[in-house]
Amino acid sequence: MKFVEGPDIRDTKAPEGPIEERWEKRKFAAKLVNPANKRKLNVIVVGTGLAGGSAAATLGELGYNVKSFCYQDSPRRAHSIAAQGGINAAKNYRGDGDSIYRLFYDTVKGGDFRARESNVYRLAQVSVNIIDQAVAQGVPFAREYGGLLDTRSFGGAQVSRTFYARGQTGQQLLLGAYQALERQVAAGTVQMFTRHEMLDLIVADGRARGIIVRDMVTGEIERHVADAVVLATGGYGNVFFLSTNAKGCNTTAIWRAHERGAYFANPCYTQIHPTCIPVSGEYQSKLTLMSESLRNDGRVWVPLRKGDDRAPGDIPEDERDYYLERIYPAFGNLVPRDIASRAAKNVCDEGRGVGPGGLGVYLDFRDAINRLGRDAVEKKYGNLFEMYERITGENPYDVPMRIYPAVHYTMGGLWVDYDLQSTIPGLFVIGEANFSDHGANRLGASALMQGLADGYFVLPTTIGDYLAAGPFGEVDEEAVTEAEGKVRARIERLLSVNGNRTPDSFHRELGKLMWDYCGMERTEESLRKALERIPELRKEFWENVKVTGTAEELNQVLEKAGRVADFFDLAELMCLDALVRTESCGGHFRAESQDADGEALRDDEHFAHVSAWEYSPEGVPVLHKEPLEYEYVKMTQRSYK
């Protein structure tokens, strides 16, 4: 796949000056909207997860006229709900040396020096307000006997800054945002559209002015115009077919915005989570994550000998390889996600994997049970053990769990500036859908933090600065008609192929290809192979996909086909981005770029930049580089040994 290089991105709109003052400065400089004018300003928010739900609620509270869209039957079901572990915040309630600066530092380092300092610092600053907000809403965080909030250390952090609500932190935070949103629906500031899917962005006179959606129950194509559009549509991990994402998660909203001119940043940065339940068969429809907190007490191992098919209990201690403890004595089982995942892949590639197909490693609680007692282990992890048993039919108190890495999160997304505005004026992108804060690897318990920071605190301020110049008047009818026509033509095309393969069968094949060639380990050869194979498969899709039913009804096959079609185009850009970035960093491991110990080797001289891709209708994307500068955190090679 060809590409060309365009001019660098030099201005991200972050204020100058000491890093701790930048967000204050930006807030003060942002123009305010007269309260009486707010209700004349229309804002569309797509997606109702932590970012979209909190943004729509907050914009409604501020008095804007908001329309909120989700594809589920209720905004409460967005996939943020499945986050288990917790949410980071620099409260330093423990007095254990945490601070805004330390959370900032850990996040920049954890992101392998591929995130923006200004954004990350703001995220750490705002993190403390999120906990206050959530508690005031009635989010039932875990508490200690004194009545204060409990915290735990998580994902390799050496301070205890993760707030949690058992293993359901995402659920409780999302319900808090959902309830705030429903309160605004009742107040009449937010109009809610459930079972609606965004299929295109309306851009008129150089501004994002609305969206085209399909009512998933009646099939009606609707046009909604506004003064600004906010995309909070989540990540694109489902390009791999199997991932920990919900089945409906897709790239369509951000991909269509990309086609309309929004740059796509770092598409190749994907996070593979180390502790998921392995695939059990060909019919597998999704992968389930087991909270990373299990690594606090579970020990990861595989048999020392290749092809050792004895039951785990029959393998004596000296014939087991506790490989994380062996390779990383300082962090042991608690190394960051990307490192734990790759290590699991390596031992399985050596033929030492366990379970069906040899794609699994043990996570063993025997020693924890002996040390702490079964009751203590049950108290800490009971619900996770139950979940494991429900899915696998095996009891982890007696037999070690089997785990394997799975695609979990995408750090890449639409490019945004410091204001969270994309390259299309009036199009804002928040939460996982943007690329902004996690660099090449996201730390545990930071996704919830970013989603809520964007939605409750950052966007409501920065979007005001844009809207202060509005309302922007009538929307050019031609632009709306063109977008609607494009959506209708595409649906018609999907329905008219009438081939012999289901959308899912294409999605599975694409996903496998991406996992094999653009997954945990990437090489020039594998990526070139993928770039050759994806267009062939896409061609077959458009010639041979079978979509039953009609456009004018609830049609889940049609919905699926449209999403798969966009995944093909995204997959190609991901592989191109991965091919161009010849270094290894964070979740992006290029086998050609590793040190003598097999660890990821960054190339700061050539790749300390964001890769922002501009869409080209001719199929020759334009690469714009945004140089990354580190004034505060010294760039070092990460080491967890």
Binding site: D132, G146, Q179, L554
Partner: protein, 246 residues
């Protein structure tokens, strides 16, 4: 495993609907119930038939989107389990399984096994929140909360809004759903100022949606995938009575 499925098919709200029989072969015991339906649907598409429409999303038991009545029981016979987490190892080879949508007047069928649960959102709109605009919150430690209260509030807050309670209730009551939210918020200090107005508004909305009353049969809590306790309904009634006295 080989199975016979009797599935409720209904093309839309105005269609009368009927049970249709399908055979599914080579089902693996490790499949989830929804994966078994995926296999059936893949075949139906290739044969040019309309696949069975059903709601689902996270497939890990937390979003509350899936739900069907399996052999007469909401989410199937496995306790504390959503349909997506139910696995085929709990069925016998050769079994016949009936699959139906939630049946309750306030949950009209959209298509096949898909129902409209928007009444639940309207019950939350009526008062299932704490009125606290973003940015107005005091420091999180300014109000300590007894651990016991926080834990009980959490137990009620785990409701996933799937609607199994309504489907199981002989009266089609939404009391367990409504009471779970009322209990969650009324156990916490943050929920006190609006406690009584909330209870009244939510219960009134529940009635307005056409859900039946509670007669303490307890079917709801038996099928609840999150095990929301029945005594939440007592708390709801108590708050509601107090609110009406004022």
């Amino acid at each position: 495993m080989n199975l016979t499925l009797k599935v409720w098919r209904q093309s839309g709200p105005t269609d009368a609907g009927r049970m249709v029989t399908y055979k599914v072969e080579d089902v693996s015991p490790d499949m989830s119930f929804l994966e078994m339906l995926d296999v059936l649907n893949e075949r139906l598409i290739i044969e040019g038939d309309d696949p069975v429409a059903f709601d689902h999303d996270c497939r890990e038991g937390i979003c509350g989107m899936c739900g069907m009545v399996i052999n007469g029981v909401a989410h199937g016979e496995q306790r504390a389990t959503t349909t997506c987490q139910l696995h085929m190892r709990h069925f016998e080879d050769g079994a016949t399984i009936t699959i139906e949508p939630w049946r309750a007047a306030p949950f009209p069928v959209v298509k096949d096994l898909v129902v409209d649960r928007s009444a639940f959102d309207r019950i939350i709109q009526a008062g299932g929140f704490v009125s606290v605009p973003a940015g107005s919150a005091p420091d999180a430690h300014s109000v300590p909360v007894r651990k016991e209260d926080a834990d009980s509030a959490f137990d009620a807050a785990t409701c996933i809004g799937c609607g199994a309670c309504v489907a199981a209730c002989p009266n089609g009551s939404a009391s367990l759903f409504t009471a779970a939210k009322i209990t969650h918020l009324s156990l916490l200090p943050q929920g006190q100022p609006e406690r009584l107005t909330r209870a009244k508004a939510m219960v009134d909305q529940m009635d307005a949606e056409g859900f039946g009353g509670c007669t303490n049969t307890g079917e709801c809590t038996a099928v609840c995938p999150k095990g929301i306790p029945l005594d939440t309904i007592a708390r709801m009634n108590s708050d509601y009575l107090q609110a009406n006295k004022k």
